[in-house]
Symmetry: C2
Subunit: 349 residues, 2 copies
């Protein structure tokens, strides 16, 4: 069945020319080498006839690059990351590149391994949503010559191009919205401590509080990862002690956390926003369709994280590195007001 795949060698043999000629023609530099029209046509025809398809692996070995982009993501099953990945995949495909996908699973060891793996596969560039606690290994890859762009999270004071949303601003807006609706005791359900997403979001929360003259109660900052369970358990805690902690609102720093909160409150029959208000990071298709339409923080629809990252990456790859391309991009955020926040101003005053 599978008759040996044809190679430039077989084309050359068939035509009685040399492999270099075939290679040149197939790489479109036939003209440059002043190869005769006749030969050029013959090569193309034979390539089609023999069903020739170039061997990328051999090419990569020779060229030390692979027309491939590595993508490292903590969790592809998170819709936010999936959306980014899908955009990146589409765009790279259009440019003739392919995607090597690695899930880091929020595990720094896997992240490190993935990175050397990609390096080893001679990917032309890497786009990574880092766990965010360490950056040396990423910087190393970059220094060793593989262009890297960091997305969604970033490192302050580290020379790595990034594109992220302005998490600080988003969190600030969310918190301020709550404050303007009379809330003073606002819980902040945080994600992985130490990551930029989290630092920035918690930072924005704290700043908003302080700007509005509300003293920070550190007990109100709770949680430790961006998962469903984190939201679920802390929401239960909050509601159990509501008479003591006097919490009237929650700022959730991630979509999965929010789902956990929603589930807990549903089970406990806690009314949103009747008993407790909620603003969540990350807008999703279903946000407005939940039992309480959610007020969320989203980045502007028309800007695309993935596309921008790719642009930065290709700038690096082609070493054009246009001086005017900013090395770090922070996309603006947007507060989408729906029905999960209750105005309790009167009660408070």
């Amino acid at each position: 069945m599978s008759k040996k795949a044809s190679t430039i060698q077989s084309i050359a043999d068939e035509l009685g020319v040399s492999v270099s000629t075939v290679s040149r023609v197939l790489n479109g530099v036939g003209k440059k080498y002043r190869i005769s029209e006749k030969t050029i046509d013959a090569v193309h025809e034979m390539a089609i006839k023999l069903n020739y398809v170039p061997n990328n692996i051999a090419k990569s070995l020779r060229l030390k690059k692979s027309s491939t982009i590595g993508l490292v993501i903590p969790d592809i099953s998170n819709p936010w990351f999936a959306k980014i990945a899908s955009k990146i995949e589409k765009e790279t495909r259009n440019k003739g590149y392919n995607i090597f996908l690695c899930n880091s699973d929020d595990d720094i060891e896997i992240e490190k391994r993935s990175l050397s793996l990609l390096q080893n596969w001679m990917v032309d560039g890497i786009i990574i949503v880092p766990i965010g606690l360490e950056h040396e290994h990423i910087l190393k890859v970059s220094k060793e010559g593989t262009p890297v762009v960091v997305i969604d999270r970033f490192f302050e004071n580290v020379d790595l191009p990034y594109v992220s949303t302005n998490d600080f601003e988003g969190a600030y807006k969310a918190t301020e919205h709550l404050i303007k609706n009379g809330h003073r005791r606002i819980a902040c359900l945080q994600g992985i401590i130490g990551t930029s997403s989290n630092n920035q979001r918690v930072g924005g929360y704290i700043k908003a509080l302080s700007d509005h003259g509300i003293a920070l109660d550190e007990n109100l900052i709770m949680g430790s990862d961006f998962g469903f369970d984190n939201g679920y358990t802390h929401a239960k805690h909050i509601i159990k002690d509501i008479s003591k902690n006097k919490i009237t609102a929650i700022f959730s720093t991630g979509n999965q956390i929010t789902l956990g909160v929603l589930k807990a409150f549903k089970e406990k029959k806690v009314k949103i926003p009747g008993q407790i208000s909620l603003v969540s990071y990350d807008e999703e298709a279903y946000s407005e369709l939940l039992y309480t339409p959610l007020s969320t923080i989203s980045h502007l629809e028309d800007e695309d994280l993935g596309i921008l990252a790719l642009k930065l990456l290709f700038d690096e790859i082609s070493i054009i590195s246009s001086a005017d391309t900013p090395k770090g991009i922070l996309l603006p955020t947007q507060l989408i007001k729906r029905e999960s926040v209750l105005n309790i101003s009167k009660k408070v005053q």
Copy 2:
């Protein structure tokens, strides 16, 4: 900075042994070739010292396989596929394989291109969620020697191993549930016509109707893809003509379609299940948290499509092809009853 990456050659030179010795040691067959303990240790030490990391590309070229699995998916941003992809990624990583990701975007041309690309990258196997309208190109890849496993959708009477959910059964259960609650005029919002998912789901719907003595009204089967907009527009149509079409329930064949329906009904202030009942294919984390908790069809949680597919694939790869491994697996489905179906039996009788 980036001093030339070390190779087995450099290790050999450093140690004054031959490359084959180094290769053997590094491949763990040193013992088999009775290479001296001393040499073995020396090689390992030097490998570490020189920070040696094997060049997968060279290896692949030589071996004609790449320790890589190709994954072709219509849309990685669909949470259902993303979940499968994430499972597969994790499992392959554990086995020392990597994932080449291709989004086919429900475009048959892209699917074909992706397949030859993967073949060309000498992937050791391919897992594909096919568009489903054609299968020759997939069969061809398989015949040319690259193991392929089809998931989520499948082809009847085509010799390609698959693991899918029992869409027919699921749809049957969904429709029957509606019928048992007194519904007779049930709209079926279908996905891409001609795909197995759709064939099976619509087939189950029709069979349930017929088994319960309800004549099929073909006008009630509407739609043409699995997207959000498809659900949105048809839901609007349905509600506009509700006095004429007398539809009392909808069976949606996909999660995105359902979101579209929900959005349309919310805009039009149509009550679910008050005015119209709804059962949807695909259970999601948010299904119970929507404005009307959704009754859904899910496959059993403890079975995993991705893992099973991988198992089939590795069976093929290792040519063990244990005769007792079924070539096609259809996972059972489950009806999760929540609050989106109203019992209208009395009204009807």
